[in-house]
Amino acid sequence: MTLNLRPEDILLHVQANSCEEVLRLVSSHLLEEGKVKQSYEEHLVDREREYPTGLALGRFNVAIPHTDYQYANTTQLLVAILEKPVEWHNMEDSDETIPVRAVILSVFDKPEHQIEALQQIMSVLQNQELVARIIASDSAQQVIEFFD
């Protein structure tokens, strides 16, 4: 399986002040494209509140928000590179927040697609050098190539 990344869903220089703002922004982007259902946004925000997805990876932290498959119409990734870091709750300890610069949203409409996708995403994210280059990318195409 290859990760499905599309240039129109690689968002660079995203301006947001909170994790929730990022989640609402990416949800409405996907809703406009018809890739998720109306209810996606609320489920994504609620799930993040209860089970945060910020990953403390070192110098550059990443968040991997997701919600259940029923609310999506497709299987793909959305990448949002934030203009400035946003405080995100840590998956390991939800009482803690970490500054996040990149958000990798895994959208999936079949549960069996999810695990393999996440493993592939993590193999990229575990390489801090690569994460740094993804964050510094100035085109969608560049970001896609880093995930290849």
Binding site: R47, E50, Y51, P52, L55, A56, L57, G58, H66, T67, D68, M91, E92, D93, S94, D95, P111, Q114, I115, L118, Q119, M122, L125, Q126
Partner: protein, 99 residues
């Protein structure tokens, strides 16, 4: 070495716990311990599973909140998702599997 029973748990979609389950099986095979019986569940089901099973240790991939684990050891499994601190988590799991 006796076969252990492990609860591996995560938030809801069974994704991060599945990543941890794969690692635990790998660790068991690599260190020659018997493959443990794995109870994979959601955080919300941990308490019930603790009551109805003899559990040797728990590996949550996030913070276990509001669960009374008593003297059952808890080993953070987030490292199996992020790769950060993975060697330490592996060593802890190996020690529990061989205990």
């Amino acid at each position: 070495m006796e076969k252990k029973t492990v609860i591996v748990c995560c938030a809801s979609s069974m994704i991060t716990s599945t990543m941890a389950v794969a690692k635990i099986k790998e660790i068991a095979a690599a260190c020659g311990a018997p493959e443990p019986r794995i109870i994979q569940c959601k955080f919300s089901e941990v308490q019930g599973n603790l009551t109805s099973n003899h559990v040797d240790f728990i590996v949550p991939t996030g913070k276990l909140k509001g669960v009374e684990t008593g003297n059952v050891p808890v080993i953070k499994g987030t490292a199996f998702v992020t790769g950060v601190g993975e060697d330490k988590a592996k060593a802890e799991i190996e020690a529990q599997l061989k205990a």
